[in-house]
Amino acid sequence: MGPLSLEGSEVLRHRRTLAPGRVLSKCGLRLLLALAGILPAGIADGASNKVRVSDLSDIAFGPIGNLGTDAIRSESLCLYANTDTNGYNITATGIGPGGSFVLTSGVQPLPFEVAWSSSAGQNSGTPVAPNIPLAGQVSTAANQSCNSGPAITASLVVILRAAALSNATAGTYTGTLTLVVGPE
């Protein structure tokens, strides 16, 4: 038999589609798959609460001509969680003091805001505070890299407020935003 990759949630999803009279228990299914030699290690030991964030892209605002309005950029990405509820939390940190969300141009800071949506294609979402997990998110991803099922499952929104832009010194600003996802 050739190599076979089967992810935890896929296994459980297949189990859910069996007819009621033929449902295998989770343990029974695991035992069966383990005996067949195709069960991923993470499932075999019961530690299946795994998550993955991928398909992240850099965010380029470019030259912002109108400093009197908010500048908003969003990107859709793959967020996978294989918990029973497909739930996850996300924590974002920036490069400012205490993980605050700032871009810098030399010593000049330009603060920004972050929002998160657990659905793809959004230009707004729930505000995220630095270093504080945003709980209660649910993923619709069918596998860890979103190469089957939904291709993208969440939206990251970055906002440069007009008030911050109009107080910023002219120049080029750069920063890094780090996202940490945990299962729940």
């Binding site: 998550v51 850099d58 965010i59 400093l67 750069t174 996802v181």
Partner: protein
Amino acid sequence: MVDARLHRRSLACLLALLANGAASAATQGTLGGTSSGSVVINASVPNRIELTGLTDVSLLNQDPTVDALSAQNVCVWSNTNTKGYYVTATGSGTASAFTLSNGATIVPYNVEWAGSSGQSAGTPLVTATALHGLISTATNPTCVAGPSSSASLVVKIPSPNLQAMQPATTYTGTLTLVVAPE
């Protein structure tokens, strides 16, 4: 032969990189108990400037034996590193001269600019000629926060000019100011 193949692959990678522009710095998470990724965010803010707080100048019923003067505080905001700017003024007279007219005759007036507020005198402006080297203290584009004004505009009609005006008639003109960052 292997070396040649490696060189070709390296060259192909380099060409692909150049074709796609700068490489992405974003990092992707891996499957695990937690997963982390990061994105680089870039933005640039161009040079911008704003002039606000201007009010019309009214010099009515002036004593022709003394200069008539009107000074007003205005807000100039510049976002350059130095907060620097220059100002250029033009009048509505012939060749943009600083003149007022009552339809029959004209009267010249003077314009002065100070890079701080609360001034009743400043540097004389020449029409259509930039006054450079000014620095703004404004911290907000319209001065609604921080200093409420950052420059002074002074309009003056010298006494001899007043004496040349026809009495009991109103002279009108428009003064246009253009500020630019530097």
